[in-house]
Symmetry: C2
Subunit: 276 residues, 2 copies
C-alpha cells in the first residue's frame, strides 16, 4: 500500500519504520529537514517532504501523527488534494473534540480515526521503534457508522505492526475509557511526583515507585491539550478515584483492618484478570 | 557465616537462595514441612526445622523474614536461646511500631533492623529469586545509635545479595519516607483499580495503566498490617498527594493550560533525576 505519514515523531516514526519493513511504500511529511533526512537514511520512508504536498493525492492512506488542533489546520489547508477511495486516519489520544470536524474536512476521502495504545516517555523520531506496538490495544473509532473498507485497511495496518486486541467503538466511548486508563493515570503520576518535597527520596524508592511515576515524565504540550480536550470525562474519573481513596483513608483512620483487607482483595481480583 | 532465616516466604526464600549461593551456611525455620523440603531440595538451605529451635543458638546471624507482630512473639518465645555476639535482624517494611520492643526482647544478642526495598507481586518460596535484589535500595535502621559490628554484617549481606545503594537512617525517618514511596503508591494503585467500574476496561489499557496498577495485586494480610502500623505518616502523605491532585483538577476545571504545563514540567524534572 502507498501510505503517507504526516508528522514523523515518536509514533509517526515508529509507524513508518514498521510499515516499510512490512513492504509498504511509505512517504513522510514533516516540518523539519533533519527529521526527513533521518527517516530516509534509516529507510523508514521512500521519500519525504517539507513543503511539497502533492504526494497526498497519490497515496491510498494518509496517517496524521500530529496533535488534534494541527490535524484540523492540515485538513483545511490541503482539502483539495484528497481523492475518493483514499483513507485518512489519525493516531490521537482523544477523539470527540475533533473527529466530526475532521471528517467534514476530509472532502472526498474517507476519514476513520484510530488510537494505537502504546508509547514511550520520549519525544522524537530518534526513539522510534515499531516493537512498542507488539501486543498492544488498537482502537478504531468511527462516528455514527463505520466504513467497512476503511476499517479493513486499519485492521491490516494493526496486523502489520503486530498490535494485539483490535476493538471498534464510538468516539464518545473511546474518550470515556481513555479518560480513565490513560489520562487519569497520568494525572495521578504527575501529582504523586509533585507531592514529593524531600531531596533524598531516591534513596527510599523501589520498583513500585519507579513504575508508578515513570509516566510523570510527560510531553507538556501534547498532554495539556489531551487533558483539556477530554476534561469532562477526566474530571469525573478523578472524582471517582478520590472517592475510593477516601474509603481507604477512613478505614486507616478508624483502624478498620477488615475494610483494608477487603479493598486489597478486591483490587487484587480485578487487576489479576488483566494480566496478559 | 552461619545464618538462620526465620520464615521462608518470597523474601526469606530469596535471601536463603542468594546467600547460600555466596557460600554462607544457611538454616531455615518455617511453619510448613513442604516449604522446608522445597528449600532443602533446591539447596537454599543446609537444613531446616519446624519445631526444633536449638539452631538459633548456633548462628552468627538470625534474619527474621516474618510479619512485625510475629517477630515480637518469636523473640519472646525464644529469648533464652540468643547469645552474645549474635546479630538479629528483620526485613519488615515498617519499623517504628516494633523495633524498640524487638531490641529489648533480643536479650544478649544485638538487634539491628533493615529493609530490602525489593519484592514481587507474588507470595511464597516457589517465587523466590535473589536477582530481585540487584541494584535495589537497602536501608539499615538503627534506634538511637548504630552498632558498627552489626552494621558491617548487614552491609556484607547487602553486598552478597547485590543490592545497590545502602543507607543507614533512623527508624522514624525510615517510616516517614517509606510511607511515601511504598505505602502511598500501594494506596493509590489499590484505589485506582477499585474505581474501575467497567467490565471492558482491559480493551482500553496500555503500559501506563499496567505499570501503575501492578502493585494493586497485594498480600492483604501483610499490607493491612503495614498500613496500620504506619498510619500517621501514610495519612499525611495521602493528604499531601490529594492537595497536588486538587491543583491539577482546578487547572483543568478553569481551562488553565499554563498551570497544567507547569505541573507537567515540574514532574518531568523531578522524576528524570531518579532514572538509574
Amino acid at each position: 500500500m502507498k501510505i503517507c505519514i504526516v508528522g514523523l515523531g515518536l509514533i509517526g516514526g515508529s509507524y513508518a519504520m514498521g510499515l516499510s519493513l512490512k513492504g509498504h511504500e511509505i512517504y513522510g511529511i514533516d516540518q523539519s529537514v533533519d527529521v526527513i533526512q533521518y527517516a530516509k537514511e534509516n529507510k523508514f520512508i521512500k521519500d519525504g517532504f517539507i513543503d511539497d504536498f502533492s504526494i497526498l493525492s497519490e497515496c491510498d492512506c494518509i496517517i496524521l501523527a500530529i496533535y488534534p488542533q494541527a490535524i484540523l489546520d492540515f485538513l483545511k489547508q490541503h482539502n483539495a488534494l484528497f481523492k475518493e477511495n483514499q483513507i485518512i486516519t489519525d493516531v490521537c489520544g482523544v477523539k470527540s473534540s475533533f473527529v466530526r470536524k475532521a471528517t467534514l474536512l476530509a472532502g472526498k476521502a474517507t476519514y476513520l480515526s484510530h488510537h494505537p495504545m502504546a508509547g514511550k516517555e520520549k519525544i522524537g523520531i530518534q526513539f522510534a521503534d515499531y516493537k512498542i506496538f507488539r501486543g498492544a490495544n488498537f482502537l478504531i473509532t468511527p462516528i455514527d457508522s463505520v466504513n467497512r473498507t476503511a476499517e479493513e485497511v486499519l485492521i491490516g495496518i494493526a496486523h502489520d505492526l503486530d498490535f494485539g486486541r483490535i476493538t471498534t467503538i464510538s468516539i464518545e466511548r473511546h474518550d470515556q475509557m481513555i479518560g480513565f486508563t490513560s489520562q487519569l493515570t497520568h494525572a495521578i503520576a504527575v501529582s504523586l511526583v509533585n507531592s514529593d518535597h524531600d531531596a533524598d527520596t531516591v534513596k527510599f524508592i523501589g520498583d513500585s515507585y519507579r513504575d508508578l511515576t515513570r509516566i510523570a515524565m510527560i510531553n507538556d504540550a501534547l498532554w495539556s491539550e489531551l487533558f483539556l480536550e477530554n476534561k469532562e470525562y477526566l474530571l469525573e474519573h478523578i472524582s471517582s478515584f478520590e472517592a475510593e481513596l477516601d474509603i481507604l483513608k477512613n478505614a486507616l483512620k478508624y483502624n478498620d483492618k477488615d475494610t483494608l483487607k477487603k479493598l486489597f482483595n478486591q483490587s487484587t481480583q480485578i487487576r489479576r484478570k488483566m494480566e496478559k
